[in-house]
């Protein structure tokens, strides 16, 4: 089956249809000044990127990684990579060296596109990345070496046109999305160009934008929501949209919502919970606004936030559920479907969701079990890159097992219960305990460690690190700061534990596996249950 290249469907097609000068993004900078970008701007710039990569010898099917903060250049690079039929891999600019090594090593990226202030992180690990041929720096005018090149200089010498195949096999790899597991290294979910059909269909079915709407998705493009519904969906459907360079800032966000007259806002529960901490008078300015609908994704939208959001913004708040692996929204609340606060809604058209028991048999309504999807939807990931066994392990027969526990009520609404594994969903980011533990164990003063997630009113789950100190080491604020900084710079700021708990021994079973369930129960003051397997 053939589909349009995502870059063609999102950009080139519109330029061919006379939309070259049509503004697609109102880009709001940190100081709230705005720059408008048209389809033609991104078409020309992404053509140049594709020419640069061709000049550097990048072939289709090879991975080019983008390690940049959200920026117009990130978007141009993304589409340029796809035009070449190479595989894009966007990484959070907050990732530390260890996290970068895991991702760049697994993907065998040939090129990393980054900025001057982030280069040092890649240079620190480059000897462990034999596949890496070039680092392209977006904000330097001159090449530093044959390895460290100025993208700006290369772009200046490139043509703004690029010939490429618009139609290709739907199974052609397009992008990698890294996600954390409960054990082992992060896994790169591989998506193909065929993903675009589900993204467009779901965007139209759930977001239901009209011609005069202004759409704002707050997610960073390194998060799958930011890529699929912050870039691909609005670009491909001609949806007038906003991007904001900054991070969370209540005043700025409210200013953007009101002054720019945003009508459809795709946000996250943690952002709403952070807003809830503000004095209500902060929202006086937003009492009258242009918002028609709010959508939320990343963690469960608990009824308290739902009601708060609806009251403060005067509009419906629609929660939805999907994952890096699913490639598009799977289960959703949406206009025309009565909202049950706290529920993730119902599967969208064409998606079949089930609750399965431990034997992978469907459960009747009301019973908790494994949230699973009937496999084969178009945007389903095609593998975990270079980890086929891990990919296969996510399926049981015809079912994709999501890793979430949930239940379905008698009306067909799905309700999130928890993760079925040890992955920690903190502020919408999935953090694998193994990544945090590995980094902490690199610190001499730490003898052993176990990491768990615990309930948190803002973050959904907070990261708790149980540590055993090395001999003759005392816990103090200096050591705690060392641990926090180490995690921040080696893994990511989102992986910094909220709390460190010093204990004498990490509870493990007889085969050496950490008993996280026991630690969680002890931390939360609950009965740890059966501890007969504890060593």
């Amino acid at each position: 089956m053939f589909v349009n290249n995502i870059a063609y469907e999102s950009l080139t097609k519109h330029c061919e249809n006379g939309k070259n000068d049509t503004v697609i993004i109102h880009w709001i900078q940190n100081d709230l000044t705005m720059i408008e970008y048209s389809y033609g701007d991104f078409e020309t710039e992404s053509n140049k990127v594709a020419n640069v990569l061709t000049y550097l010898g990048i072939q289709n099917g090879e991975v080019v990684s983008i390690f940049l903060p959200r920026s117009p250049m990130l978007i141009s690079c993304y589409f340029g990579i796809l035009k070449l039929q190479a595989i894009s891999c966007i990484l959070f600019s907050t990732l530390g060296e260890d996290a970068l090594l895991d991702r760049l090593g697994n993907s065998q990226a040939k090129v990393v596109i980054t900025k001057a202030s982030l280069v040092r992180k890649i240079l620190a690990i480059k000897d462990k990345l034999p596949s890496l041929k070039y680092i392209l720096i977006v904000d330097q005018d001159e090449n530093q070496s044959e390895f460290l090149l100025s993208l700006r200089k290369l772009l200046d010498n490139s043509k703004g046109t690029f010939e490429y195949r618009h139609q290709l096999d739907a199974e052609t790899p397009a992008f990698l999305q890294y996600t954390s597991g409960s054990t082992g290294k992060p896994k790169g979910a591989l998506h193909v160009h065929g993903v675009i059909e589900d993204i467009i269909q779901s965007f139209r079915e759930i977001m239901m934008l009209e011609q005069d709407d202004l759409y704002w998705c707050i997610a960073d493009p390194a998060w799958i929501t930011g890529l699929c519904y912050g870039i691909i969906a609005p670009f491909s459907t001609l949806a007038d949209s906003i991007q904001y360079s900054g991070t969370y800032n209540t005043d700025h966000w409210l200013n953007i919502l009101k002054d720019k007259k945003v009508t459809i806002w795709y946000t996250a529960p943690t952002a709403l919970r952070m807003m809830m901490q503000e004095d209500e008078s902060a929202f006086d300015q937003i009492r009258s606004n242009s918002l028609k609908r709010i959508y939320s994704v990343g963690e469960p939208l608990n009824p308290e936030i739902y009601h708060w959001g609806k009251r403060i913004f005067g509009t419906e708040v629609y929660d939805n559920w999907w994952q890096s692996e699913t490639g598009s929204i799977m289960i959703s609340n949406r206009p025309g479907l009565e909202v049950k606060p706290g529920s993730m809604g119902k599967p969208r058209n064409g998606i079949e969701a089930f609750i399965l028991d431990e034997e992978m048999q469907p459960l009747p309504s009301g019973l908790h079990g494994h949230l699973s999807l009937y496999k084969g939807w178009k945007s389903m990931f095609r593998t975990y890159y270079h980890k086929e066994e891990a990919y296969k392990a996510k399926f049981h027969g015809e079912y994709y097992i999501t890793g979430d526990l949930a239940y379905k009520d008698e009306d067909g609404y799905f309700w999130y219960v928890s993760r079925s594994d040890d992955v920690i969903n903190t502020a919408g980011h999935l953090v694998g305990p193994f990544e945090v533990e590995s980094a902490l164990l690199e610190i001499d003063e730490i003898g052993d460690v176990a990491v768990i997630g615990a309930d948190d009113p803002i973050l959904h789950k907070k990261i708790i690190a149980f540590i055993v100190l090395s001999k003759d080491v005392e816990w103090n604020k200096v050591l705690e700061l060392k641990c926090r900084i180490y995690i921040s710079n080696k893994v990511s700021t989102v992986a910094i534990p909220s709390e460190f708990v010093v204990i004498d021994k990490i509870p493990k079973n007889q085969s050496g596996k950490i008993l996280r369930r026991y630690l969680r129960a002890v931390y939360e003051g609950k009965d740890p249950g059966d501890v007969s397997t504890m060593e």
Partner: protein
């Protein structure tokens, strides 16, 4: 070592970036790894380095490095 030099050292350690040069107008937007989570690391590091304490209400209210420095100076004065 003056305050600026000492504070520069703190920033470089917290954000693992020896190229950081502080300016009065610098904000979190100017430093790649400076987000709301690493901001807590920065505050703890400043408290430990300068032996001062910030109130909870102060922590998120610095508009830029200049204001942060003013706050540190004022606490050091009161301290002495």
């Amino acid at each position: 070592m003056d305050l600026n030099e000492k504070l520069t050292g703190v920033f470089r350690e917290v954000f693992d970036d020896q190229s950081i040069v502080l300016s009065e107008e610098m904000t979190a937007d100017d430093v790649d790894a400076w987000d709301s989570l690493s901001h807590i690391n920065l505050i703890i590091a400043i408290e430990l380095t300068f032996e001062i304490e910030f109130k909870q209400s102060e922590i998120q209210n610095f508009a830029n490095v200049g204001q942060l420095k003013q706050s540190i100076e004022s606490k050091l004065l009161n301290h002495n």
